[in-house]
Point group: C2
Chain length 225, copies 2
């Protein structure tokens, strides 16, 4: 079994701020878990009681809106922590986490993280910085949701997926999402998302083969309005 100390994943999140002794302690009480595509890691309203460190895979954080539709609030990827927000504010989870592809995660109990947060200022400062970054991103999404058209938001999403998750040998986006996921990410009806993706294809901005999507004209997508 691998230890947190050896694990390179910690470089990508606040755990990097911990020293050798703390990492050894975490290793001793962490559990690891494999989740297959589509499985639920935790649900809105549940107590998480710890933090997940994503060793591999991608998951979507969704919230059920009043009208019964799921909104995907963000995608969380390899290297990210999951559940810090609920842990810090001592609340049940505000969001549901569902695996977008097969995942490997480590679970670290709340008590251990709190131990470090209260004693290790550089760890809590690092976590504070991460959360500040998330907050800026969330504010920007609010503005985009409020002011941009569905067409623009969908173009932005494709650009985001292209730059953030990279592409495979064929140039296709390496994250495979359903059309419904696309709709739930930009906040529109599934039919609208499908329709606009078809338009993008006709306009030569993207090409598609089943669920696989390739960004053909990056700058063209940027200019969409």
């Amino acid at each position: 079994m691998s230890t947190c100390q050896q694990c390179i994943i910690k470089q990508f999140n606040a755990l990097r701020a911990l020293g050798k002794d703390d990492l050894i302690r975490l290793s001793g009480c962490k559990t690891s878990k494999y989740i297959t595509k589509g499985e639920v890691l935790f649900r809105e309203g549940e107590s998480i009681n710890g933090v997940y460190c994503i060793k591999d895979g991608i998951c979507k954080l969704t919230k059920l809106s009043a009208n019964g539709k799921d909104q995907i609030v963000k995608l969380v990827v390899t290297g990210d922590l999951l559940g810090q927000r609920s842990l810090v504010s001592d609340e049940k989870s505000n969001l549901t986490a569902i695996a977008v592809n097969d995942m490997e995660v480590c679970f670290i109990p709340k008590r251990e993280i709190l131990h470090d947060l209260t004693r290790n200022a550089s760890f809590s400062l690092d976590m504070l910085q991460e959360m500040a970054k998330e907050l800026r991103i969330a504010d920007n999404i609010i503005v985009d949701m409020a002011q941009k058209s569905v067409r623009q938001r969908l173009a932005d999403l494709l650009l985001y997926l292209h730059t953030t998750f990279d592409v495979d040998e064929g140039g296709f986006l390496s994250v495979i999402l359903s059309r419904e996921d696309y709709a739930n990410l930009v906040g529109t009806a599934t039919e609208s998302a499908i329709r606009i993706l078809s338009q993008f294809k006709k306009e030569g901005l993207i090409s598609t083969t089943g669920k696989q999507i390739k960004v053909v004209d990056f700058d063209g997508l940027k200019r969409v309005e």
Copy 2:
């Protein structure tokens, strides 16, 4: 000149976690400032280099979207801190702050706050908790922006203003906003906001006298769809 130690405002934000000595130190280097309605406290892209503690008044945090419209991301009120996010992540401000009514604020330089953040774990944990709360609120706003109609968002806003800022003797909302502000808060055209407010009035959900608005049927507004 009043000291931070005596100031009751600190009860409402992370400064409550500081001890006597730290508060005395802050008092020594803080500056206070009066801002009149409509004045800009800081702009998007500026370095704030500190934190504002709002002693009195309300201000709106806006961001200019790609299409040239201002979106109000949140209202910040008496007791809140302003600028922590930029300070913590060491970035220029992502938002513009404009006074909605006359304000009194105290400015505390970055260096002093950082001093406490790196040394005082309970202070940085408290700030972390505040930011976690803000992040949950932001996530919920994203869902509402994406999934609710303009009519619902405007009804929600009236309910929020009613419960958060209370009402005057006549039952009118104590925050006076222009119709344009209402539009920029819910992310719609000014004409649309005006039109829907007129509808609410006809439907007996609110009553208005000039800029003053009174929530008449709270539960009715809740049921708006």
